[in-house]
């Protein structure tokens, strides 16, 4: 399981529509619109390939999107290290 977050920038005019459509994609959750044009997305993908596919899809298939900006990627396995190093 891979968990990633990204910021999707969209034109304020169509942002609501974009949010609706994004929410319809399986494994994708939106977390509100911020500062007018930024949508925060959480993606939970089975594999890195699926994540790439999803990102590409969002980037190219959607109208009104100005850009996508990945902010975080991690897999379950790496998580082990994080917990150990933080304790």
């Amino acid at each position: 399981m891979i968990i990633a977050s990204m910021i999707v920038k969209a034109l304020p005019e169509n942002i609501d529509e974009v949010v609706l459509k994004l929410n319809n994609i399986p494994n994708v959750t939106t977390y509100g619109v911020h500062k007018e044009e930024n949508i925060i997305l959480l993606i939970e993908a089975d594999s890195e390939d699926q994540l790439k596919d999803l990102s590409r899809y969002i980037n190219s298939e959607f109208e009104g999107i100005l850009g996508t900006y990945p902010t975080f990627v991690a897999s379950d396995e790496e998580m082990e290290d994080v917990i150990k190093s933080s304790n």
């Binding site: 977050s5 977390y31 509100g32 975080f72």
Partner: protein, 763 residues
């Protein structure tokens, strides 16, 4: 520290995105919560502080609060993060609750007036005096010469014991409480429209609502944590709209999309105009109207067509002229109401404290009935409560002169029988005629018709309207005041003052705005000689010869257990909310008919345990508290205020609260921090008026009404509309209620604190 990996990752992912955008941690808190202090640690921390689960002592939002105790002393307060009402967040008042427990003005021993002076007495002396005086008055002048005046801040158990003593044993229905001054019109609205008191939905609807229609409520200051939930909903979903109808610009305006700044007392026409526009533009839910709605002119049934005809006069232009707003804005508001699928209306004292209070409540319900925006996610006609237990203790517990416990009324023979049986008294003991409502009660004190009164946990010598008229009656009568604090305006003129255990020193149940009953733990021993109000009342009952029926009240739980029996099978069934269960959970929302029932989010529809599927026969909502299952849309006249402005008194005076203070400052006035926020009494004056009158901020001005006059500092600020002034009523040294009018709504008997005519001059 337990930590689900995936939650941690999700939280980290969201946090990273949020930080990139520079928006901090407005979400993801829940995910983080899992990575934090676990429950056991939370309740007993490493510094040796034991945390107890409770509920805020102030407003009707009902936030979960934890009281920290170390070595038998209150040391801190924090929000209860497990409580879904506030998820750990608190407003400024609750933050200082622990300081109020040990405040300097705590009353620590009983006092009796001797030779005109209150002097220390023993409990024996004090209770004997009260019992013998009350018995004497009862025997000499009859039971109706006695009265009880309670509070929406008393626990349900306390109100229950008082009700049982006065209505069931002494035999008078002169049992009232300060919710008469704040919620009675909401009760009137709910019972006439839907057949039963209290909202249909819950706070859960906030997170699903797309239009908040806020009428006569300064939510940001009066219900801050609720406001935060609304603001957050809007922040996360910019499509959410907020429309406000209020004579003042208040801090709530920060989130408003549209503000209809009405002339105080004239907003009924607006609601009618919106109803008309909803019908004219086809925004109605015709199926819902056909299935679940009746029409009435207040006396007789009318038809839908009659109602439409009635509305003809209420064009936006007519309403705009009546209310002093733009017709376009009314059209905009109606369009938003009609087109937004999920709408919640919220209102508070601006609607209730009016001579047309019940009417206005009805009209608000009309909008939701016309559009069917009721009984489903994100929709409700949702009244906000001022006090923490007005709903639970007084409305549900039957602490008003026409009510009996469990949403019953004294006028109903069957209801009297049921309660008499529970109380183990003959049914004739409970009078069928309602007692004296609050204003009439204090009037009767002045006239000598009521000779003895027991006042619990409230301060009428500051809070009732047109004070000058009633103060003398209070000092003349034999007045007993049970309070945690002294002196208050009321305790000062009492004959006997009894020290009551305060919040944290007693356990009990509060029921908040959303039908949620919550248990408050006892974390401390009562200060000084203070005792629990329930025990004090039971003791007086015993001394008056009614001991048998109060003997078993040896604990708060015993009272609660008897009380919830009265709710069995009623629309407000609390049978499943046993004391033991309430101690564990963060409240339960009735109806909750059994211990395995989770509580109810929407009434009168699927999911309500009392929703009669057979009778409903496919209808989405069935109002089973009405004989035919239909709620009523009322064609009510657009009644104005009792005292319109005139040449002599050209300014509309309206009163209210500020965020940092609570009612008469008995508690919040003890906290230096809260006092600092607004150290002096003041009046808000519109800049245009101020210019005309030659008044600047901090100048002294005199306000004069037909009833009295008062001098305070001016605060020139663009909040009240021109021609209106706003005066907070907190400061005991400056009794705002000398100015207010004691005219009441003919249905709810709630006084019109929100509108009086006055004159302002430079002092």
């Amino acid at each position: 520290m337990s930590l689900s990996r995936r939650d941690f990752l999700r939280a980290s992912a969201l946090s990273a995105a949020a930080t990139t955008l520079g928006i901090g941690s407005i979400f993801g808190n829940e995910a983080f919560a899992k990575a934090k202090i676990d429950e056991a640690d939370f309740m007993q921390d490493s510094k040796g502080v034991q945390w107890h689960k409770s509920v805020c002592r102030f407003c009707g939002v009902g936030c979960g609060v934890m009281l920290g105790v170390k070595d038998g002393k209150p040391v801190g307060i924090r929000g209860d993060k497990e409580n879904t009402v506030n998820s750990g967040l608190l407003c400024v008042k609750a933050f200082y609750l622990h300081q109020m427990i040990t405040a300097k003005n705590r009353l620590l021993y009983p006092m009796i007036r001797k030779n005109g002076k209150l002097t220390r007495a023993t409990w024996e002396e004090a209770l004997d005096l009260v019992a013998s005086k009350f018995s004497e008055i009862r025997d000499k002048y009859g039971p109706d010469a006695l009265a009880f005046y309670g509070s929406g801040q008393a626990e349900t158990e306390e109100t229950y014991v008082a009700n049982k003593l006065f209505k069931g044993h002494i035999g008078t229905n002169n049992v009232e409480g300060n919710p008469r001054l704040c919620m009675a019109s909401a009760v009137g609205g709910y019972t006439t429209t839907f057949g039963a008191d209290e909202p249909i939905g819950t706070y859960d609807d906030i997170e699903k609502c797309d239009l908040f229609f806020i009428v006569g409520s300064n939510t940001a200051e009066a219900h801050p944590v609720l406001y935060d939930r609304i603001a957050r909903r809007k922040r996360q979903n910019p499509n959410v709209k907020i429309v406000i109808v209020d004579p003042r610009k208040t801090p709530t305006n920060k989130i408003a999309d549209l503000h209809l700044q009405v002339i105080p007392g004239y907003d009924l026409a607006i609601i009618h105009a919106i109803a008309k526009l909803i019908i004219d533009n086809g925004y109605t839910d015709e199926q819902f109207i056909k299935d679940s709605v009746n029409f009435s002119d207040g006396k007789n049934p009318i038809t839908y067509e009659d109602y439409k005809k009635f509305l003809e006069k209420y064009t936006p232009e007519y309403a705009a002229k009546q209310c002093g707003v733009n017709a376009d804005d009314i059209v905009k508001a109606a369009k938003l109401f009609g087109e937004t699928p999920r709408v919640m209306t919220m209102w508070c004292m601006g609607v209730n404290q009016r001579v047309a209070g019940v009417f206005l409540n009805n009209l608000i319900h009309n909008l939701h009935l016309l559009t069917g925006k009721l009984g489903k996610d994100g929709c409700d006609s949702f009244s906000l409560t001022g006090q923490p237990n007005a709903c639970g203790g007084v409305r549900e517990g039957g602490g008003l002169c026409h009510l009996l416990p469990g949403h019953r009324v004294v006028a109903n023979e069957q209801h009297r029988k049921e309660i008499a049986e529970l109380w183990n008294v003959p049914a004739e003991k409970i009078q069928p005629k309602p007692g004296k409502h609050t204003v009439a009660m204090f009037d009767a004190l002045g006239k000598g018709e009521i000779k003895g009164i027991y006042i619990l946990c409230t301060n009428p010598a500051q809070s009732i309207p047109n004070l000058n008229k009633y103060l003398k009656g209070m000092s003349d009568a034999f007045m007993v005041v049970a309070e945690s604090f002294h002196p208050t305006e009321t305790s000062q003129v009492a004959d006997v003052v009894l020290p009551a255990a305060f919040w944290g020193e007693k356990e009990g149940v509060y029921g908040c705005t959303e039908r949620r009953s919550q248990h408050m733990a006892q974390a401390l021993k009562p200060s000084g000689e203070a005792r629990w109000d329930g025990f004090i009342l039971a003791d007086i009952a015993k001394r008056m010869g009614y001991g048998n029926n109060f003997e078993h009240f040896t604990s708060v739980e015993a009272v609660w257990t008897e009380y919830i029996k009265s709710t069995k099978g009623k629309d407000m069934d609390l049978t499943g909310a046993t004391f033991a269960r309430l101690k564990k959970v963060r409240g339960l929302r009735w109806p909750v008919p059994s211990e395995d029932h989770p509580g109810t989010t929407h009434r009168f529809t699927d999911g309500d345990p009392y929703f009669p599927k057979d009778k409903a026969a496919g209808k989405r909502m069935y109002f089973y508290t009405k004989p035919d299952g239909r709620a009523t849309i009322f064609a009510r006249p657009d009644k104005g205020p009792e005292e319109p402005t005139s040449a002599e008194y050209p300014i509309a005076l309206t009163t209210g609260r500020i965020m940092e203070q609570w009612h008469t400052m008995t508690m919040t006035g003890q906290v230096p921090e809260l006092v600092r926020a607004a150290p002096n009494p003041y009046v808000e004056i519109n800049p245009e008026d101020a210019k005309e009158w030659g008044v600047k901020t901090r100048d002294k001005v005199r306000m004069v009404t037909k009833r009295g006059s008062l001098i305070v500092e001016a605060k020139v600020v663009d909040r009240p509309r021109k021609g209106t002034i706003f005066v907070p009523w907190h400061w005991p040294e400056s009794l705002t209620n000398i100015l207010t009018i004691d005219a009441v709504d003919p249905g709810s008997k709630e006084p019109e604190y929100k509108v009086a005519a006055c004159r302002v001059e430079k002092a």
